[in-house]
């Protein structure tokens, strides 16, 4: 069972308390963008077998959205951080790099 720490209320919440929200750090494209950009935004996902940055909501807790770094191959959680981040915190990226030397970086 997944356990993620909510970065707002500090609660170590397990999966049933949380709702998954898909890939994080998507760049939004709307009217005026090209069909390729819009398709990318709507459907193309990284879907990596390994390090994945994703959105979660602490639904049955504080109710706030936050972001998490998790390994999709082992379910290891590297860390969580607030949803207002445009990219993962540098220390988290360093931590993941130390654990996964093969990893190509977050983008």
């Amino acid at each position: 069972m997944l356990i993620l720490e909510c970065p707002y209320c500090g609660v170590k919440a397990e999966e049933t308390e949380l709702s998954p929200g898909g890939e994080a750090h998507l760049k939004r494209f709307g009217p005026g963008s090209s069909p390729e950009e819009f398709e990318d935004y709507m459907f193309a996902r990284q879907n990596p077998k390994g390090v994945h940055f994703e959105r979660w909501r602490h639904s049955y807790g504080c109710g706030k959205w936050f972001l998490a770094a998790r390994c999709t191959a082992t379910l290891e959680v590297f860390g969580t951080y607030p949803a207002q981040s445009s990219e993962p915190p540098a220390e988290l990226v360093e931590k993941i790099k130390a654990k996964r030397p093969q990893w190509k970086g977050w983008k």
Partner: protein, 415 residues
Amino acid sequence: MKRYSVFAIAREAMRYHSGWERAWRSPEPKKAYDVVIVGAGGHGLATAYYLGKNHGIRNVAIIEKGWLGGGNTGRNTTIIRSNYLQDPSAAIYDKALQLYEGLSQDLNYNVMFSPRGLLMLAQTHHEVRGYQRTVHANRLQGVATEWIDAKRVKQLVPIMNIEGPRYPVLGALYQERGGTARHDAVAWGYARACSDMGMDIIQNCEVTGVTSANGVVTGIETSKGSIACKKLGIVVAGHSGQLAEMAGFRLPLEAVALQALVSEPIKPCIDVVVMANTVHGYMSQSDKGELVIGGGTDGFNNFTQRGSFQHIEETLRALIETFPIISRLKMLRQWGGIVDMTGDRSPIISKTPLGNCFIDCGWGTGGFKAIPGSGWAMAELVAKGEPGPLAAEFNMWRFKEGQFIDESVAAGVAH
């Protein structure tokens, strides 16, 4: 290949069963093939089989990372149906169902196809309207389904509690031709037939790269060395994204875990397949007497082939209300498969940005039922280089153009 028959059993009975052959060969890979199919699951093997049978292409290798049929082919709940909403889906799933009906004879391998009938329960008024719409659509598509009321449901499945209280049964979408088949036998039967046609099934051989020249595929790198090929078919379900990355393109897919479980064996008590989409549970009884129960998908990306525990609880909690007699049953085994979900819950059978490289993926939570139809359509695409009528609508560019084949209701999660 020696044919299986009642005479073969009699013959072997007289000589201590010493004459049974291996069902398929395990050769070392050759240097080059006309066509290489990556993935020896149901869809990959069916593709190879129809390449040989319908198109006469027999210099084919099927490469498998693990063992034959060890992925989602061995991890599903074996349900077969074709009551989909959209025309392209109805066409390919019904083609698959028709092929399943004659598959044991065709392959000379008993796939234990059991058209026992299939119910999709409507437990909310929204579902009643949705399924009635599907029945009308199916009528136009020539797929025989009917809408039946709760009384008839109770007659078909006496162990069902149709009164609720949380989710009363209001009726059901009934497909009499639907049913189940032995999942492993489907893979084994196709493998035996492919091997008999001279195709090489290479197990425990992981693909590590795709090579190309001038935008056209030239071969693959594997853990057993490089293999050259003129055409490449990628049929790997959950790992399609990884293979596509090797081939240099991206797919609109996300991999999630879907779970199933079986109970201890009990006496026959339910002779149809029942699916309940509102509560994300579905159930049938296997020939061994086990109740085969399918659950929901996890909401997060996952490659671990195991799902979250609370989904088992959720599924069983809901099924116990509908089938009170199962409340004391012990569950024997639970497993998960990695399913590749597309945005519109319909598959992709398509050419790709890389020349002579074709992909069949995105079957999501409902691939088993489609195996023969998918293989048929994919074989046509690989052989001719252009999709036939079954595959045309399932191209990977439909997401850019907005021409979705929306099956989120019919595919939902229950399969």
